[in-house]
Symmetry: C2
Subunit: 263 residues, 2 copies
């Protein structure tokens, strides 16, 4: 009956995001395991820092493996990172998991999520009949994994990523409150609701192309959005940067796409 | 067992919106009644055109009445139009209603909405734990009406409008698909989902400060958004404008706030 939070990083930028995320989960006293899937695009240094925070660092290399995910990838090369994300279903040492994007941050304990069934998630703000795949409750299963690969290969993904794929595969998903996956920009788009319900937010998601690790400039204390970025940077400065031998000079803040430079 | 679509207009701009909406509902063969609440801010001319399309044009004048809505308004002047909207619960000649904002447009028949319970609605894209109050299924009831007024007076509305009020009053609302209240801008914010699910959309909502009656310029055929504005203008040009004695010269496209210029 081991349960775990699971995330994914294919670059040092996302790896640093995962470090902050891991610390945020621990700081709110999670009783669950932390697990991360990493690819060779994450440097040794960041992987070593990750192993200080995560109970389980799993190296996944879809490109190099001879398994069905690799074969599927050859047919659907556009779904590169998606196939890596799907690997989370193979973590059958856990009975239930919560997947979290590496660009999320826990603001409160969210362990009650493990009482929810597969597939539970919160609405996507772009098309709320869909769930946002930055946070979802799932049950690892080799069978589901194979079905997902097969689905990816034969049907593809309507948005070219894991969100489209998972929404098509789990049309009867179970809806969770937005407080478990609040898109950081929601404080702007419907400010009165944020003022009314914002104190309940348990997980914030820095969705979109600008990530907190791209810079502290957005961390202005005046705005709610800025205070989330500020909270991210506080953890980064106090707990993540000191743990890395040569400080942040070594992680690439431009967050280049994953490369196969090391094995 | 009479059921009705209900909308609201306090200005000629919204009145013209309601005319297009009414035609769109009829063109898709609704078997339900059409009802509109109008205030004295709507000109005689537009009211007369409305009575050609709507089975029931109900004049509501919160400002002038001595009833409890008027008293509530004195305590919460910021909720002006909201108190007018709440009047839809007094339409007890109907057993069930679907409220539609005057800035919505039916693209398909939506009569199956009448099988849904009070209060059914679709997610708001800003904060999807809330429903968007541009479309909702309700059951007219004098008792609910009084409770709503009391709630408005004592608690107010967290967003200063009917959406905040109704969400607080109906926390256990029943979620309907986004296809029954698709915010027109959703075609931009998550285009792949729009491409996947857009053909199912039954009602489009021109939420925000720019309304179709402000001008045809947004009606560019290239974009999905433009084609919705174009569909609105087709109905306007073919069915609404000809029905008005002196064409659109008489309705104010700047859509000034409601005034008490006539009684
Ligand atoms: O180059 C990438 C892109 C994505 N991801 C992982 O996939 C998730 C989803 O991508 P992202 O958060 O950038 O997408 P968004 O939430 O902005 O749509 C990330 O949080 C990471 O866990 C990654 O490791 N490397
Ligand atoms: O000055 C106004 C503002 C609003 N309304 C009515 O209230 C609804 C909600 O307002 P609106 O659609 O402008 O708000 P949005 O959907 O853009 O938030 C309108 O569709 C109309 O039915 C009105 O009659 N007069
Ligand atoms: Mn993300
Ligand atoms: Mn509206």
């Amino acid at each position: 009956m081991t349960e775990a939070y699971v995330t994914l990083a294919t670059t040092d930028g996302y790896g640093v995001g995962a470090l902050v995320l891991g610390h945020s989960l621990l700081s709110h006293g999670t009783t669950r395991q932390l697990c991360i899937l990493v690819t060779p695009g994450v440097s040794e240094q960041v992987r070593s820092a990750l192993s200080q925070v995560y109970h389980n660092v799993v190296l996944v290399d879809v490109m190099d493996s001879g398994d069905s995910a690799h074969l599927a990838l050859l047919e659907r090369p556009e779904l590169g990172i998606t196939f890596t994300k799907l690997h989370c279903w193979t973590l059958t040492q856990y009975t239930k998991c919560v997947f979290l994007d590496a660009d999320t941050l826990a603001l409160q304990n969210t362990d009650e999520l493990f009482t929810q069934p597969e597939l539970s998630a919160a609405c996507d703000v772009g098309w709320p009949d869909c769930f946002n795949s930055g946070m979802f409750v799932f049950v690892p299963s080799q069978e589901t994994y194979e079905q997902l690969l097969d689905f990816a290969k034969t049907k593809g993904s309507f948005d070219g990523g894991d969100q489209g794929l998972l929404n098509s595969f789990f049309p009867n998903w179970h809806r969770l409150s937005f407080v478990y996956n609040m898109v950081a920009t929601a404080c702007y788009t419907y400010l009165p609701a944020f003022k009314e319900f914002g104190r309940n937010v348990k997980l914030v998601h820095f969705l979109g192309s600008t990530k907190p690790w791209h810079g502290e400039s957005a961390a202005q204390p005046g705005s709610a959005y800025g205070s989330f970025v500020g909270a991210w940077w506080t953890i980064y400065r106090e707990l993540v940067r000191p743990s890395m031998p040569q400080s942040e000079a070594k992680f690439d803040p431009t967050d280049a796409p994953p490369q196969q430079q090391e094995q």
